[in-house]
Symmetry: D2
Subunit: 332 residues, 4 copies
């Protein structure tokens, strides 16, 4: 993945301190991690400090901390709020501070641990088609249900009849806010629990930095997921995640961005859902204007014809959408 020719022309390669070149390789095992984190904030000590360009190989837990081991487990009995969605890190990067940008190139997301490695379930009062803590209802919750399944790089064995493709991505990744400590269940301007399938091997993420060192956290990998993560739960898995981290000095913006070979994407998280779309598209207008010479109104009119939007989640404390434009249209 890291040798893809397009990477030479990526923003990371052109503007990063390490010019997109890979540096030293660090391992962050479960043991090395020790305690997990359940907030994204500046109050935790870095578990690792690296240089721009370095590669970090992180062992992640699944979103349940691995406690749902059988289809007869009760999520309600096993899961203890707010200690959900354990995060590895924070990883500090030398030379990065507020006002800079952290570039994270995802090399790989590989399933880890014993089979059945994939877990999904129904958690009462959580999900897109049920009353929840926020969309508060008097209806009785759905019954709990757990499915465990074999997952490897060849696919997700949903049932005897259905095998879904293995399309892994990172559900939760981001940097620390300046003074807030935000639940790892929530996506926001700092990244976090975006649950957006584009955050996948091959992509480069760009996060605005708010705290010295950036303080990257990561966890919650999915073997596959539909648009919206409808039931609130994807195919959750433990994973080994390989990330190359670079720094772009003095590049500041409001919300996470993402680059692939073919498109640029901006990521917004908000409720109601249209505000997530508005944030994402306005950020894209601003990016097209700031870096690609578009007049804002022209960018707006072009996106009305050529913009694409992907629903990440419609279940987390904020919903997430990614708005994108093909690079080939970035010629104003």
């Amino acid at each position: 993945m890291s040798n893809d020719p397009w990477l030479k022309s990526s923003i990371m390669a052109k503007r990063g301190l390490a010019k997109g070149e890979a540096g030293k390789r660090h391992e962050l095992s479960i043991e090395a991690q020790g305690d997990f984190h359940y907030v994204y904030g500046p109050y935790a000590k870095p578990v690792l400090t690296i240089n721009p360009g370095d590669i970090v190989v992180v062992e992640t837990e699944d979103a349940f901390g691995g406690v749902i081991t059988s289809e007869t487990d009760s999520p309600t009995a096993k899961l203890v709020f707010p200690f959900l969605n354990p995060q590895c890190g924070p990883v500090a990067v030398n030379g990065v501070e507020k006002g800079d940008c952290l570039a994270i190139h995802i090399h790989a997301v590989e399933t880890r641990g014993a089979q059945p490695a994939g877990t999904t379930c129904i958690i009462p009062e959580f999900g897109g088609l049920v009353g929840t803590a926020a969309t508060a209802m008097l209806n009785k919750p759905l019954p709990e249900r757990v499915r465990k399944m074999h997952v490897d790089k060849n696919g997700v064995r949903w049932s005897d009849k259905i095998t879904l493709p293995y399309e892994p991505f990172i559900g939760t990744i981001g940097v620390s806010p300046e003074i807030e400590a935000i639940s790892s269940l929530q996506p926001d301007y700092h990244g976090g629990n975006m649950d957006l399938p584009d955050v996948a091997p091959g992509a480069i993420l760009y996060f605005p930095v708010h705290a010295k060192g950036g303080l990257m956290y990561v966890g919650d990998c999915h073997a596959t997921q539909g648009d919206g993560e409808l039931s609130g739960v994807a195919i959750e898995q433990r994973a080994t995640v390989t990330l190359q981290v670079d720094v772009i000095k003095g590049w500041s913006f409001a919300w996470p961005r993402l680059e692939t070979q073919n498109f640029l994407m901006t990521i917004g998280s908000a409720r109601p859902l249209e505000d997530a779309a508005r944030i994402a598209y306005r950020e894209l207008v601003r990016w097209m204007s700031a870096d690609y010479g578009f007049d804002e109104i022209d960018a707006y009119m072009l996106l009305s014809q050529a913009g694409r939007i992907r629903l990440g989640n419609m279940v987390d404390p904020k919903y997430t959408m990614g708005a994108s434009i093909l690079k080939k249209y970035l010629v104003s």
Copy 2:
């Protein structure tokens, strides 16, 4: 298009009165249409009555009624609310009544009229990134702007540098409500102004019928459009639309459905946007349960991994999303 082999296995072919076979061909020219309609309702007399299986070739006006003819035109001066988005029809179908389903197979959507055939513009207080009549703001509106461009089957010439693919579809199509007359600017349970790019040549639409004869209306074709129709306006064009209309007796459901070779889609329209997604996904759960043997909770869990959702518009009086599942997964 109408000879695609997959059509033989479509729901229309299997359940329609005409078994998916094409019948008589009718022309509904601009002259034959006479007055256009600006509501979807049962209060207008059918302009044409056909039999199940018949083909209708309809000449449509663009959403502006063709009055924006130059880049120096002022949309505000030219457009007279509520006489926007002129619709052809209604077309009555013999033998269909409340409780049945109208199946509409889209054969073709072809650009019509003199070049520059494509129009887009900024309309004050309308669009996804501006204050509107409903999301009422005190900010000053954006300035008006009009772009006219050459459109043919080879592409949409956005500018000297950018040519977008010609991906035409029908912005507004549907059937009459039972007693309501709904503005042609609005999408809802009856179809209408969904602005969903999947409503394209090759697809089959299924509408629940509320009024005797079904009373199909159609108009508002787009040469291409991005997800969300961000500025409120696509590449609007006059078109010649070829539709094959069939009837499925006794098939009733709540919201429009769509079938292609590869997937089934349900279409929801609502505000806020998450309610459009909820409607679409719940309809898909119900369809999978009613016709494909899924337990509802299993369908819900599977869609959380394999569901896809497309944003049609985030600018109309209701927003529209289409939720889909690949047919190959419909094996419970």
Copy 3:
């Protein structure tokens, strides 16, 4: 009510064609009405035509058309969608046309019919704390339940222990759209099912007119109701409604307005709920600017300190809020 001294200084008295003077008295009994209407639209013939200043005494049915007569009735079995919320009218007013304003002074709303005259109930998939047709959920609906109770001008006998005050108002009232026919279940720019307790005896309503004659409809009286009409149903009652109707020529605006002795109110209906609030408050800003000499930004800042907002319903197809300002502050 009609002799309150403040009425002399009302907008109706100052600007109405009849100067707020009462004219001829008309009776619109259930028998005279004949068929009820379930849409607000221009497609029905007026049942009565009056002159500006005339008084109309209307007998209304309750929102259920009177079919829920016992606590053992099943709402699901008795109610036939879309034939809910029967409306009387339309009443045409001579001399009023698009661009004018219809002023309606509510003299009285009196309980009608045999005891127990009040009805409330739980309707599955309808209400503020349950999944609905739009906020689509997979949860099982709440069980049905009906309560019938004695209602007279001394109170609403909720139970042996609780008597609520009799605070009657009109749940559904308004004028015809220009070309739409809008369900009587829905509130919108034309009025309709606003379910706002301020629409009560003593108040004057102002509706922008869209169709010749104005075409006033009315129905759906409530003996009392909480903010939001939480369960979707108030204390529904048959009523005798006394209205004085006047016409203000050339006074046009976007959304319904209301005047009492002490305050002016603007009424917005939309989803999500913040858009109802935005509409209402923006209309109030515009009213303060157009008629009371306020700079728009000053009006906005003053409403931030002295504005009041009332939640009508959070259950209908659009939610309704009324924003108000005390008249004594209308001195810019």
Copy 4:
């Protein structure tokens, strides 16, 4: 205020460790406070530790940290995000831990500092009728504007013609989350920036405790405010706040609650606004069921007739509503 006879029958008096009796009086001056806090979280050391029943007199800064001193000041130039809305505290209370309830009886909110003591202003991209960071728009922001005015207990001198009543309350108050550190600009389950005028002298607040000691923060007093805090800014003032703090062991619930002589209120904060209303009303249903013997469906039906709801803010990161029921109806 603390001698009101109704207090003897308050929940605080009946269930609090100090039985509603006032204990020792502590002063928390600006000097004693030292650094302010801009998040509600468990990562700050208590500035004061008290016993149940103790009284704390706190000097608060205004929401701008006092930097807007003249009508020619530019909010944009003076305000540095995220260091807005400075909070005093945290105050730890002996003997309280997760699962308990902190009861806070507000004795007084008195204007502090030199005249003109009241400040309001327009902040670009913040407010209820403008595009914002979340409801992202391309429209140009409103111009900045500042108003300073004389405020004392006799009134708020808005202008030569308009004096508003002095109706002071606490805009921001609450307790620490367990692991999150939430911006002082945001209201949520922990209280925070609710901007709800009912949080006024005479009321008793009840907060569920998440961290040892409760860790109460307070700031941001308003001299008066309209429903919704429409422009995003009330009449901001420095204040001296007198609070009596008690502890109810083992009383746990999800969202802040409030008691006055006449009513009980539950407070929800969320977007979209209907979710704030849903949270507040569901909490009230649960409270009526848990402590007053109501069947949940009966409580729901009664609130549909007798519930009241107050809009606190429609401008903060979450919107706030308070749902209430008169105590006299709590007889099931």
